[in-house]
């Protein structure tokens, strides 16, 4: 059946056969003049009290039939307009196609059927279980707004709209996933966003053919140009203020139903080193923070490999006194420096993984057991040396200075360690060169990954590693190709 028929029983039979699920409930009642009606809804997704008070109750006291004079006498027919007026919901619409009605029902809306009408009324009585808007756990800031996205796309859209009360803000819905039918909201500011990039994003979303989208990370992977790259090609944020700011720069944003993580694109690697807090503190502090983050990441990536290189290939890298101290603590170890580093790094990764998955209180004890007891015992027993544990611990801490880079950083750290341990500082330097060349030749949605450094865009360098005063950022970044570049007019 493609369209509904005007017989109520047939429509109900169709629904029951199309959705033979126990959570789909039907509530039948009659109008004041005896016209049979029923409501169909998914249990737990609807505000039943409101539905009863504002839809069923008014209909039960209203006569729905009206007279229609014809040549062979007067006939009575159901007045569809009256139904729409009687049901006291602002969101009510008619659907004739069965597929549309089923989609609305599964979305949490209620379907109202009236005998004699070959359509269903979609009543917006949706009440989905959503959690409260809280501070995002992965994106905590000392200064700045505390709101974070949640799993409900509609709430997320409101959070964005609250910050961008502009008619130019477009929120276009697309459905992705054959079975999950996930709503993906494409957000952009018309006149500011580059249309070519937006169209490309929309095209790539349309091309996705997958059954279920459990999280926005699926979308991020599926629309990426380089799916096998270890570098991210789509920006992520849980903060509506960051999301709104990125839209205002000319980016395209994606809100995915069921995921609190919003996507922004195009993405440049430098974004990982920027924090929302940088814009709420003085530019000097922001620049220092960014420099700290960059140095921390470099230390995190290179220090384990460089330590191994200094032990195996180039002893001169460390001062003589330090070399002798290290030699003293490593002289009786059963493992080679590279193997030892490998083991300690492995332990760190295991501890990290376990502490994330463990319940909070167990996690704390795990940290104590893992970091203190295990580490101390391993050193006392002569399995591991103190310098190696210090290097790995410091490397681990440094990597978390840039939370969004942790995944990539972990992989690169392993890679550098393996190459550095095998080929020495030459291999390590070569590997860094390789990664650098890969990055500088990579593009995301035609935007270079290393923008604005390579290719160098002088105006965009004002908000790269060095953060200029907000007045100096009166133009939007050039790299997004925005049609309207003026962000702020500075009155002198």
């Amino acid at each position: 059946m493609k369209n509904f028929v005007n017989q109520l029983s047939e429509n109900r039979k169709f629904l029951e056969s199309a959705l033979p699920a126990e959570d789909i409930l039907y509530y039948a009642f009659s109008s004041a003049d005896g016209v049979e009606c029923f409501l169909a809804y998914a249990d737990g997704m609807v505000n039943k009290q409101l539905l009863g008070e504002l839809a069923a109750a008014p209909l039960q006291v209203t006569a729905l039939k009206r007279e229609k004079p014809q040549e062979d006498g007067t006939v009575y027919e159901v007045n569809a307009e009256l139904i729409a007026q009687t049901v006291l919901f602002p969101e009510i619409k008619e659907v004739e196609k069965t597929q549309d009605a089923l989609r609305e029902l599964l979305d949490g809306n209620t379907l109202l059927f009236v005998d004699g009408l070959a359509c269903a009324f979609v009543v917006g009585a949706k009440l989905l279980p959503v959690r409260a808007v809280t501070e995002p756990p992965t994106d905590v800031a000392v200064k700045g707004p505390r709101e974070g996205f949640i799993e409900d796309v509609k709430t997320n859209m409101i959070l964005v709209r609250k910050r961008l009360k502009a008619p130019e803000l477009k929120l276009q819905m697309q459905r992705v996933g054959r079975r999950s039918d996930t709503m993906v909201c494409v957000c952009y500011l018309e006149g500011i966003c580059n249309d070519e990039i937006r169209k490309e994003v929309e095209n790539r979303l349309k091309k996705i053919d997958i059954d279920v989208i459990p999280d926005s990370s699926y979308i991020a992977t599926l629309i990426s140009e380089r799916r096998h790259s270890i570098f991210r090609s789509v920006g992520t944020t849980e903060r509506p203020d960051v999301f709104a700011a990125k839209l205002a720069e000319g980016r395209v944003g994606l809100l995915v139903d069921g995921s609190p993580i919003a996507l922004t694109l195009p993405f440049a690697a430098v974004e990982d080193f920027q924090s929302n807090e940088d814009y709420y503190v003085s530019p000097f502090m922001a620049t220092i923070f960014r420099a700290l983050r960059l140095i921390s990441v470099l230390i995190a990536l290179i220090s384990p490999a460089l330590y191994v290189c200094s032990q195996l290939f180039k002893i001169q890298l460390l001062p003589l006194g330090l070399t002798l101290t290290i030699a003293e603590s490593t002289s009786r170890l059963p493992l080679s420096p590279s193997m030892e580093m490998f083991v300690v790094l492995f332990v760190l990764e295991v501890l990290k993984e376990a502490s994330i998955r463990m319940p909070k209180y167990v996690g704390m004890s795990l940290s104590v057991v893992g970091a203190l007891v295990l580490g101390e015992a391993a050193v006392s027993a002569g399995f591991l040396s103190t310098p190696t544990i210090i290097v790995v611990a410091f490397s681990g801490i440094c990597l978390y200075a840039v939370p969004n880079f942790v995944e990539t950083g972990s992989i690169l750290r392993w890679l550098f360690l393996i190459v550095g341990g095998s080929f020495g500082p030459f291999g390590l330097t070569l590997c860094i060169g390789f990664v650098l060349y890969y990055m500088l030749s990579a593009d995301n949605f035609s935007m270079p990954l290393l923008a604005p450094f390579a290719p160098m865009t002088r105006s965009d360098l004002k908000d790269a590693l060095v953060k200029y005063d907000i007045a100096a950022l009166s133009k939007r970044p050039t790299i997004f190709g925005s049609k309207n570049r003026t962000r702020m007019r500075v009155k002198k």
Partner: protein, 388 residues
């Protein structure tokens, strides 16, 4: 009048363009890295304390080639090869591409051999086997598959990769330098300097690299004012290094191969804080890797143009594999090969890196590339400017 918004990057970058800023950075901070490896020792061997003279003459030759190529670019909207194709025919252009591919392949051998020796000096306390150097060919193979835009972007990064470590090394080493070693000037006869220059020609590759590279460059009015001073900066940095190098090592400079790795090691504080100068050397080496792979990258481009096929990956693999085996063999006869290149093949380098680029403007004159074509070209470049 309303200012036109900058164009999007999305639909115009075909991956082959390089702009004036990138060319300037290439000449200032990318090109000199290849000259500070073995060339200082070579110049000191031939010219002693007068090593700045052949260096100056060499830079002058490069400058002349650069001027000629800029003149050509200013007069013609096409590359040298396209111009040749229009003037003489397709086969002539393909032949030139083929010749340049052969030249670039041969000319890449010496820098790779130098890099291999340098890697032993800078990266290991012991003498590693040749196979520890083989991963370089993986990087080189990867670089060769990339278009000209990566060379441009690489140039954009060169201030960080070259200038900062270079200045760091100079600052660390200058404290031990005795600049009086360079005096008296012109101690040796000019013929000696000229001979040294000829033997050092393989180390002045600017013209030979720029000719194919500039096929991805569109001249805009005023570019010469940026590009030529940038070359001056690059040359100046090279001369500064030579001066510091000879001042640190004096009469033993001729025997100090790959001095870059150890020039700053005499800085007193390094005894206490370790060889942090090596971190600067390693950073500079990243740029050196990119520079060493550059002739092969251009060679891959030329081979693809000769064959008229977009087989970058295949050609890159073949070239790097061939060079790997060549270097594996030549490595044992390094001194002989070095002698052969510097003593016998200097004229080949002279032709490809100086004479042919100097002849390039003739092509533009022949076909009437004057003002009209410059204007047409200007219109075209307005559409592509700011393209990385």
């Amino acid at each position: 009048m309303k200012k036109q918004a900058p164009k999007s990057l999305t639909n115009k970058n075909n991956g082959t363009t390089i702009n004036a800023r990138q060319l300037s950075l290439f000449l200032a901070f990318f090109l000199p890295v290849g000259k500070i490896l073995e060339l200082p020792s070579l110049l000191a061997r031939g010219a002693g304390g007068d090593l700045l003279l052949p260096a100056f003459l060499g830079s002058l030759l490069e400058f002349a080639a650069l001027c000629a190529l800029l003149l050509f670019a200013a007069r013609s909207e096409q590359s040298v090869f396209e111009r040749l194709e229009n003037a003489v025919g397709k086969w002539a252009a393909r032949a030139l591409y083929g010749l340049y591919a052969a030249y670039l392949l041969c000319s890449s051998a010496l820098p790779i051999l130098d890099l291999e020796k340098f890697s032993h000096a800078a990266f290991s306390d012991t003498e590693p086997t040749f196979f520890s150097f083989t991963p370089f060919f993986i990087l080189s193979g990867f670089i060769c598959t990339k278009a000209f835009k990566s060379i441009g972007r690489c140039s954009d990064l060169s201030p960080a990769l070259f200038l900062i470590p270079f200045l760091g090394l100079i600052l660390l080493s200058v404290s031990e330098a005795d600049f009086s070693s360079l005096l008296p000037l012109f101690e040796k006869p000019f013929s000696s300097s000229a001979k040294t220059l000829l033997h050092a020609l393989p180390h002045f590759p600017a013209g030979g690299l720029l000719l194919p590279l500039m096929s991805g460059y569109k001249y805009e009015k005023g570019d010469a004012k940026k590009v030529l001073p940038a070359f001056g900066v690059g040359s100046l940095l090279f001369w500064v290094f030579l001066a510091v190098f000879y001042s640190v090592y004096g009469t033993t400079a001729a025997r100090e191969h790959y001095a870059l790795a150890k020039i700053a090691q005499y800085f007193p504080a390094l005894n206490w804080i370790g060889r942090i100068d090596l971190l600067l050397v390693y950073t500079l080496t990243i740029q050196l890797f990119f520079f060493t792979a550059l002739p092969l990258q251009l060679c891959t481009h030329c081979v693809c143009k000769t064959l008229e096929k977009p087989w970058q990956v295949l050609v890159s693999a073949a070239l790097n594999l061939a060079l790997f085996f060549a270097v594996l063999f030549l490595n044992r006869h390094y001194d002989n090969i070095y002698e052969f290149f510097t003593r016998s093949l200097w004229w080949v380098f002279l032709i490809f890196s100086t004479v042919l680029p100097l002849c390039a403007p003739l092509l533009a004159i022949k076909k009437g590339g004057g003002k009209a074509s410059t204007k047409a070209k200007k219109e075209e470049t307005q559409c592509t400017q700011k393209t990385p």
